[in-house]
Symmetry: C2
Subunit: 155 residues, 2 copies
Amino acid sequence: MLGTLRLVAAAPSLDEVDRLLVEELMADGRATLAALAEKAGLSVSAVQSRVRRLETRGVIRGYSASVDPTVLGLALSAFVALTPLDPTVPTEDVPDRLRGLPAVEACYSVTGAAGYLLLVRAGSADRLEHVLQEIRAISRAGTHTAVVLRTFFER
Amino acid sequence: MLGTLRLVAAAPSLDEVDRLLVEELMADGRATLAALAEKAGLSVSAVQSRVRRLETRGVIRGYSASVDPTVLGLALSAFVALTPLDPTVPTEDVPDRLRGLPAVEACYSVTGAAGYLLLVRAGSADRLEHVLQEIRAISRAGTHTAVVLRTFFER
DNA sequence: CTTGAAAAGGCCATGAA
DNA sequence: TTCATGGCCTTTTCAAG
């Protein structure tokens, strides 16, 4: 029966019920266990233990309120592509250091000439320019910035 | 005293307490009113009415669980820049139609040659290619894709 | 995994300031 | 807008099948 052995630590797969629960909780992070139980066709206790398992396994990372960014004074968003000034210098620690800047909301490494792509939020053009200076200093890279004119949707 | 007149409908500003509540709820969407009340130094009832007001005013748009994308079989993310094939053709309805594609997680209009920038999530290279075809058909635009090699953080 | 029940705690409407 | 209170609902934990 060796064929049934599987590695589950890295990417635990979800059964149908778990997928339903995850989907519902993504749509409404405050859904009650009773409501989830009804949709899943299970008891509340069963759903409760499943949700807790999803949380402890890291499938569900957390819950958050989604807030209108303009109200928070973060009217300006921009995508910043980083192109290393010297491609031979390793840049592995750059993301960790960029994480220290609150204005940097996301950090990816991507295919193409630019090594890193960032999503930056700032309150004004002045603030954005200041953040860009900090980013350049940290990353030792050139920046190419595309300012967001309109956010149609973010899911 | 005309100088004190202001338009508040578009961007209602928040007082200090509201800002604190919003911040806490962004960090933990399931924070209890009691916990919020303690941090704010107010009664539960006061906090309750404030939170409800933030929700009805649209400052808080909703609550959601954040889920590990790899577990959902969405291991592949990509940024897609759309450059209109014919710049004279209006493209205002494109975002609304792209919203119909579940794989398109975000849609922005940005400065630069590319009119739109999309964040796309797909389960595989095959799926991504299929989504790109759909996007091109909908938007009547050329696509330039940067595949995400690693997501260092998303806040 | 299910049911059932008891206890604890949070939510919400109300009244009063 | 604030606070205090009681009723109702939800969650949690247990036991037993």
